[in-house]
C-alpha cells in the first residue's frame, strides 16, 4: 500500500457495528490504515466520528453485545488480531499494544496503589517476580518523569495531580515495551501547560524507545506539532489521509478544509470570526450508501447521495474519499481508487 518499511500494524476494511434499539449503528465503516515502525499517526475527527471505537475494535475492547466486528483484518506483524480468540488478544493487550485513555482522573483504579497497578502487566505478561517488577516500576516512573519514584509506588492515584496521573498511565502502557502505543485523547482532560509537558514527554519517549504511536485528538495544532501522518475521520470512515505537511498544505476533503478553517490563527485578523462547520454530525448507519458528509458539504452533488466515495490516491501518499476534486473544483472524472 505504501512504500517503505513493513508496517507494524495494518488495518484493512475494519467494520464495527453496534446493535441498538433504534437499529444498527455503523460506527466504523470500512476503515483501513497502517502504522509503520517508529511512526506517529495522528487521528482527528469530531466527537462521535468513530476514533475510539476504531482503536478499541483492534484489540477486542468493546463489549459485545452491543458491539460486533463485521469484517476486516488487523495485522500486527504476521498475526491477524481478529482471528485471535479472547485469550490470544489478552496476550497482545498491554504487551504488544499499550493504551492511554482520555481521563487520567478515572482511568486509574482509585483503591489500588500506583505500584500495584504498574506492576500488574509486568507480572502478568513478563512473569516477573514481585521484587523484580517493583524495580522495573521504579525505572518506568523515572522514565516518565515522576520525581521520588520509589517512594511514590505506595501512593494511591488520588495523591497524584492530573498530569502526574497521565504520566503514570503512560508508564503503565509502556511497561512491557509495546510495539504500538495508542493514545486516545491523552491530553484533552488536562490544562494547556500540562498538555504541553505530556506532549514533550511523548516526543522524548518516542525517541528513546522507538515505538509507533497512534495519537487521537481533536486538536489539529497538536497533530501539526508531533504527527508524521494524519488520518481524518468522519462518520465512521476515513475522509482523508496523508503525510502531515502535505495534508495541511493541500487539504482535499471539504470536511478537512472546513476543519482547518475553524482553527483560530494567532496571526489572523483581530476581528476574524471563529468559524464553525454548519450542520449536525451524521447519524451513522442511516444511509451507508451515501457520503456521510453530504448534508453539510458545500460541494455535494447527486452522485454523493447515490454512492459513498471510496478513497482515491491523489499523490504524495495522500488520499481522499470524495467525489469532488479540490484541484479543479469539479466532480472527479476517473475513479482511481487507493489500491489496497
Amino acid at each position: 500500500m505504501h512504500d517503505g518499511a513493513v508496517p507494524v500494524l495494518d488495518v484493512r476494511n475494519l467494520k464495527t457495528v453496534f446493535s441498538t434499539r433504534s437499529g444498527e449503528v455503523h460506527a466504523v465503516n470500512s476503515v483501513s490504515f497502517d502504522l509503520r515502525p517508529g511512526e506517529l499517526l495522528g487521528v482527528v475527527g469530531e466527537s462521535g466520528s468513530g476514533k475510539s471505537v476504531t482503536m478499541m475494535s483492534l484489540l477486542g475492547l468493546l463489549p459485545s453485545p452491543p458491539a460486533e466486528i463485521r469484517g476486516g483484518e488487523v495485522w500486527l506483524g504476521d498475526t491477524d488480531l481478529l482471528t485471535l480468540g479472547e485469550d490470544g488478544l489478552r496476550k497482545v493487550r498491554g504487551r504488544e499494544v499499550g493504551f492511554v485513555f482520555q481521563d487520567p482522573m478515572t482511568s486509574l483504579n482509585p483503591v489500588f496503589t500506583v505500584g500495584f497497578q504498574l506492576t500488574e502487566p509486568l507480572r502478568t505478561h513478563l512473569g516477573m517476580s514481585k521484587t523484580r517488577a517493583r524495580e522495573r516500576a521504579v525505572e518506568l516512573l523515572e522514565l516518565v518523569g515522576i520525581p521520588d519514584a520509589r517512594r511514590r509506588l505506595g501512593d494511591y492515584p488520588h495523591q497524584f495531580s492530573g498530569g502526574m496521573r497521565q504520566r503514570v498511565m503512560i508508564a503503565i502502557a509502556l511497561a512491557c515495551d509495546p510495539k504500538v502505543l495508542i493514545a486516545d485523547e491523552p491530553t484533552t482532560a488536562l490544562d494547556v501547560t500540562i498538555q504541553a509537558q505530556i506532549l514533550e514527554l511523548v516526543k522524548e519517549l518516542r525517541q528513546k524507545l522507538g515505538m509507533a504511536i497512534i495519537w487521537i485528538t481533536h486538536d489539529l495544532g497538536v497533530i501539526a506539532g508531533i504527527a508524521d501522518r494524519v488520518m481524518v475521520m468522519y462518520g465512521g470512515q476515513v475522509a482523508e489521509h496523508g503525510p502531515v505537511r502535505e495534508l495541511f498544505a493541500n487539504p482535499a476533503h471539504p470536511y478537512t478544509r472546513a476543519l482547518l478553517q475553524t482553527m483560530p490563527k494567532i496571526h489572523g485578523a483581530r476581528d476574524a470570526k471563529l468559524r464553525v462547520i454548519e450542520g449536525q454530525p451524521p447519524v451513522m448507519g442511516r444511509h451507508p450508501e451515501s457520503c456521510p458528509f453530504m448534508a453539510r458539504c458545500a460541494h455535494a452533488f447527486d452522485r454523493c447521495a447515490r454512492e459513498n466515495p471510496t478513497r482515491r490516491d491523489i499523490g504524495a501518499g495522500h488520499d481522499v474519499a470524495c467525489h469532488w476534486d479540490h484541484r479543479t473544483g469539479e466532480p472527479v472524472q476517473d475513479l482511481a481508487e487507493v489500491a489496497s
Partner: protein, 336 residues
C-alpha cells in the same frame, strides 16, 4: 483515625443518654399498668404497696437516674463477671429487675441471646455468603437468564414480608408435609447427633425465611454496586492492560464494589438483634425479639427500656464501625 474514633465514641455518649431519656419518657407517658395482670381480688392498699415495692412511687427523674446507674455500672459488672468467671467483679446489691419475671434483666438477656444469635445471626451469615456470589455474577452477566432469575427471586424475597413467608412455610412444611416442627424448642440440649439433627430441623425454617430476606437485600445491593463499577474507565484500563477477565472482575471491579456493600452489611448487624422480632414471634424462637414483644405486652418497663437502649447502643456502635470500615477500604477517605 484513632482520634476520630475517640471523638465519635465520646459524641455517642450524649446521643445515647438522650435516646435513653426519650425512651424512658415515652414509656412513662404510655398507658398500661404493670399491676394489670394481678388478680382483681388484691385489695387496693396492698396493690399500692406492691406498686411502691416496684419503685413506682418515686418521681420519674429519680427512677431514671437509678436505672441509668444500674444500667451503666451494675449490670455490666455482672455480665463481665459471668464472662470472665471472676465472681467478685460483680457489684452486689440492687439490679434492674424485670416486673414480669422478677429476675434481673441482664440475666434474662444473657439467656435469650444465644437463640437469637443462632437463628438470626446464622441467617445473616448465610444471607451474605449466598448473596455476594449471586450479586457479582448477576451484574457481570446482566440480563442473562441467571440475572433475570436472580433479580426475580430477590425481588420476591425483598417484597414478601417475613410474616407472610413464615406462616406459608409452616403451612407447607410443618402442617402438610410434617418435615419440620412448628415450635422451636429452646430447652433442647445438643449432646448427641440425634439432638443435633433435631436442632437443625427446628432451625431450618426460621433460618431459611430470614436468609431469603437478608440475601435478597444484599444481592440487590451487591449487583447494583457491581454494575456501577463494571463500566468505570479504570475497568477498561485493566482490560487494556491484558489482565484476565477473572482478575478484572474479581480484583478491580469487586474491590471497588465492596466498599458500599461492606458498610451496608455492617449497618445491618444491629438488625440481627432487633429486626427478627417478627420472625422469632412466628416460629416461637424465644430470643431477644420475642423477649421485647412479650415485655411490651406485659408493660414490663425496665425490660423494654433496657432492651431498647441496648439496641440503640448497637446501632450507634455499628454506625461508627461502618464509617471506620469505609475509611479502611477506601484509601481516598481519611478521617482526622
Amino acid at each position: 483515625m484513632f482520634n476520630y474514633t475517640m471523638r465519635r465514641l465520646l459524641l455517642a455518649i450524649p446521643t445515647l443518654l438522650f435516646i435513653a431519656l426519650v425512651i424512658f419518657l415515652l414509656l412513662e407517658l404510655s398507658p398500661g399498668d404493670p399491676m394489670a395482670d394481678m388478680p382483681l381480688t388484691i385489695p387496693p392498699e396492698i396493690r399500692e404497696q406492691m406498686r411502691l415495692a416496684l419503685g413506682l412511687g418515686e418521681p420519674w427523674y429519680t427512677r431514671f437516674f437509678k436505672w441509668l446507674y444500674l444500667f451503666s455500672v451494675v449490670e455490666p459488672s455482672h455480665v463481665l463477671a459471668s464472662i470472665t468467671g471472676l465472681e467478685n467483679l460483680a457489684i452486689d446489691g440492687q439490679r434492674i429487675i424485670s416486673f414480669q419475671t422478677r429476675s434481673p434483666v441482664g440475666d434474662i438477656i444473657a439467656q435469650r441471646l444465644p437463640q437469637t444469635l443462632w437463628v438470626v445471626g446464622l441467617s445473616y451469615l448465610f444471607g451474605i455468603l449466598v448473596s455476594l456470589p449471586i450479586g457479582i455474577y448477576s451484574a457481570y452477566r446482566q440480563y442473562s437468564w441467571f440475572d433475570q432469575a436472580g433479580t426475580f427471586v430477590s425481588m420476591v424475597g425483598f417484597s414478601l414480608p417475613t410474616f407472610f413467608t413464615g406462616p406459608l412455610l409452616i403451612l407447607i412444611f410443618s402442617i402438610w408435609l410434617g418435615w419440620f416442627p412448628i415450635i422451636y424448642d429452646t430447652t433442647l440440649v445438643v449432646d448427641s447427633w440425634y439432638d443435633f439433627a433435631l436442632q437443625m430441623r427446628q432451625m431450618a425454617m426460621p433460618v431459611f425465611v430470614l436468609t431469603l430476606y437478608n440475601a435478597a437485600q444484599i444481592t440487590r445491593f451487591m449487583r447494583a454496586s457491581m454494575l456501577d463499577n463494571l463500566t468505570q474507565d479504570c475497568v477498561r484500563t485493566a482490560r487494556a492492560k491484558g489482565l484476565t477477565e477473572r482478575v478484572v472482575v474479581l480484583v478491580h471491579v469487586l474491590r471497588n464494589s465492596m466498599i458500599p456493600v461492606i458498610t451496608v452489611i455492617a449497618l445491618g448487624i444491629p438488625q440481627i438483634f432487633t429486626g427478627a422480632i417478627i420472625t422469632e414471634q412466628i416460629f416461637r424462637v424465644n430470643g431477644l425479639g420475642q423477649l421485647l414483644i412479650t415485655a411490651i405486652y406485659a408493660t414490663d418497663i425496665p425490660m423494654v427500656l433496657t432492651l431498647s437502649v441496648v439496641f440503640a447502643i448497637l446501632i450507634v456502635v455499628f454506625n461508627l464501625i461502618a464509617d471506620l470500615l469505609y475509611a479502611v477500604f477506601d484509601p481516598r477517605i481519611r478521617y482526622d
